[in-house]
């Protein structure tokens, strides 16, 4: 039996373009050896799980290298290139260093929650992987409430952050976790509503269904829904608390944020979880907006999951790019941005999409006409709304910073003696 399994995997691995082939093969195999019925589920489930967990393990390690290298190049320096060719062993060295470090726990920390927090922070990231479509019918669990499952799993992160912040019993950590929770909660609404727009268009909540929709109508969702993409990208980069919204561990303000007290592998888990979440989110974006494993004619030649991983790293580069260059918002600007800009824009987008879907169903025109029309309409409307919001809500800065005045010689206006310093005397404790 084992030999048969191996032959499947080795000789026509090229054909393993989707999991279904594999599970059919196993079913036939177990059928011949008339094993128990439930074994099929267990084996294919196990295979899928091993596949995903190894992908995550690999991703967590490779991404450390990718991020440091790319940001290094952005800062006109080389990035890690000492260990191994092009510094590829650097993440391995980091992992080993973190593992052998002693795990400290503050005396007054409540142990149970302290250890549970990093696990609870990593689990949602991995859970999301189960729903993502890797190939034509290569999905570990194609739930028909896929999108909702994504939102549910990512909303657990807020709880994990609170556990980390509260249990490490340290003033900075508490600040960091409170800030992050406020941000996560306020950015969840734009995320839900913008994904709703996508689901409305595709008609189903099953991720595989959305990809098939994009394949059927021969258009990436980002073309149909640019506004939803814009809102989702910004809100999710705030949810992941990456720059420009990484106030959680704003090292220049409160050092370290909620994972100040963690060290050793617990901190390693937090750090890896952040990377895994980033990859998972870029996977979601590439599924919902960039057509997942489908790429016009390409997926006949190249296996679907290769295109998919290519897109994942494409979107991941966007995250690394913004992280490398943009300065950080202040917490109240961030929350105001979420409530004043993101949520209304998302609701506007939802209304537009609902109207369009209604028109599409009622009028009965052929898709050939409607899809390009939607692309054009939605494109212009997206730009129009963003511009309108900028005009309407942007703080009254002059568009271009007031140029400085230049004096060729000193000129000091004779000012009255300032308010008496004595008034200040009472409070001054400099």
């Amino acid at each position: 039996m084992i030999m048969a399994l191996l032959t499947i995997i080795t000789d026509n691995w090229w054909d393993i373009r989707d999991l279904s082939n594999l599970s059919h093969e196993i079913e036939k195999l177990i059928g011949d050896a008339n094993g128990p019925a439930w074994l099929i589920y267990v084996v294919s489930g196990l295979l899928g799980a091993i596949g995903i967990v190894s992908f995550i393990g690999g991703v967590a390690v490779i991404n450390i290298w990718v991020e440091r290298r790319v940001v290094g190049r952005m800062q006109s320096r080389l990035g890690p290139n000492r260990l191994g060719p092009f510094g590829l062993l650097q993440p391995v060295a980091d992992a080993i260093k973190l593992m052998q470090k002693e795990v400290l726990m503050p005396g007054t920390a409540s142990g149970l929650i302290f250890t549970a927090a990093p696990i609870m922070f990593t689990v949602p990231g991995i859970l999301l992987m189960a729903v993502l479509p890797w190939g034509r019918n290569m999905t570990l669990a194609s739930l028909d409430v896929g999108v909702l499952f994504l939102l549910a799993a990512s909303s657990l992160a807020a709880l994990a952050v609170f556990m980390a912040g509260y249990s490490s019993d340290n003033k900075y950590a508490l600040f960091g976790s409170m800030r992050v929770i406020a941000m996560l909660v306020s950015y969840e609404i734009p995320i839900v509503i913008s994904l709703l727009g996508v689901v409305l268009f595709a008609g189903t909540m099953d991720l595989q269904g959305i990809v098939l929709f994009q394949e059927k109508y021969w258009a990436f969702m980002i073309l149909l829904q640019p506004l939803a993409f814009f809102i989702y990208f910004i809100s999710v980069s705030a949810e992941l608390n990456r720059t420009p919204a990484d106030i959680a561990e704003a090292e220049s303000e409160i050092v370290g944020g909620y994972h100040t007290e963690y060290s050793g592998m617990k901190f390693g888990l937090f750090y890896a979880a952040e990377l895994i979440n980033a990859v998972v989110v870029s996977a979601i974006i590439s599924t919902l907006f960039l057509g997942g494993w489908w790429a016009y004619k390409l997926d006949e030649i190249v296996p679907g999951w290769m295109i998919y991983i290519g897109k994942i790293y494409g979107v991941y580069f966007l995250f690394v790019w913004t992280r490398g260059t943009l300065p950080r918002f202040r917490i109240d600007q961030l929350l105001a941005f979420a409530w004043k800009w993101m949520t209304p824009m998302a609701i506007l987008n939802l209304i537009l999409v609902a109207a369009e879907v209604l028109v599409w169903d009622e009028s009965g025109w052929s898709a050939g006409v409607m899809i390009p029309a939607f692309v054009v309409i939605n494109g212009t409307l997206a730009i129009a709304t963003v511009y309108a919001f900028m005009r309407l809500l942007a703080p009254k800065f002059e568009r271009f910073p007031t140029a400085l005045r230049f004096y060729s010689n000193i000129d000091v206006p004779s000012l009255p003696a300032t308010a008496d310093g004595a008034a200040r005397a009472g409070t001054q404790t400099v």
Binding site: S110, L143, D144, V145, L151, S155, L156, Y166
Partner: protein, 169 residues
């Protein structure tokens, strides 16, 4: 369908964890741990929904309860002054125990009294679509009323907190 043993085993595990967490919520010393056990209980209930293959309700349960209500509870706990963060035992534990016992008796009696039949209906299809249809076709009025109610609740909350700020400023 995996034959029944798998489902039954899963159900018992989930039921045990949910009830265990619910009990822990009552008995654990630290108030914050109580809130976290509450969140775990919510996730347990979502598991039971999955066993009943009501996937939409399970996912919504996780999203709404474990994601939002639990965080709300943590904020409530954080705002209580640190002094009474302990899950202190109040004097009313006696009457509470009696009441709980009473409810337990009623449940046990009802569960023995009714004669359960295995509903020989076909396996549930995609529940999400069915729910959507039900909400918007036959039950559209209660759906709208519920949404209006929620809106008023939210506006009420904002007005309350607004006033409070007014005093401080």
């Amino acid at each position: 369908m995996i034959n029944d043993t798998g489902i039954v085993v899963a159900f018992y595990i989930l039921a045990a964890t949910t009830v265990g967490c619910a009990l822990m919520v009552a008995f654990v010393r630290e108030l914050v741990q109580a809130v976290l056990f509450l969140a775990l209980a919510f996730v347990g209930i979502a598991g039971i929904y999955i066993v009943l293959s009501a996937d939409f309700v399970a996912v919504v349960q996780v999203l709404i309860y474990a994601g939002a209500v639990a965080v709300l509870m943590t904020f409530a706990v954080m705002l209580t002054p640190a002094a009474d963060r302990k899950n202190s035992s109040t004097a009313f534990w006696a009457p509470a125990a009696v009441l709980a016992g009473l409810v337990l008796v009623i449940i046990v009696f009802v569960s023995y009294d009714t004669n359960w039949q295995i509903a020989n209906r076909p396996q549930f299809g995609a529940t999400a679509a069915a729910l959507g249809e039900a909400l918007l076709k036959p039950y559209v009025v209660p759906f709208e009323v519920a949404s209006v109610l929620l809106m008023t609740a939210m506006v009420g909350a904002i007005v309350l907190t607004k006033e409070e700020e007014g005093e401080d400023a």
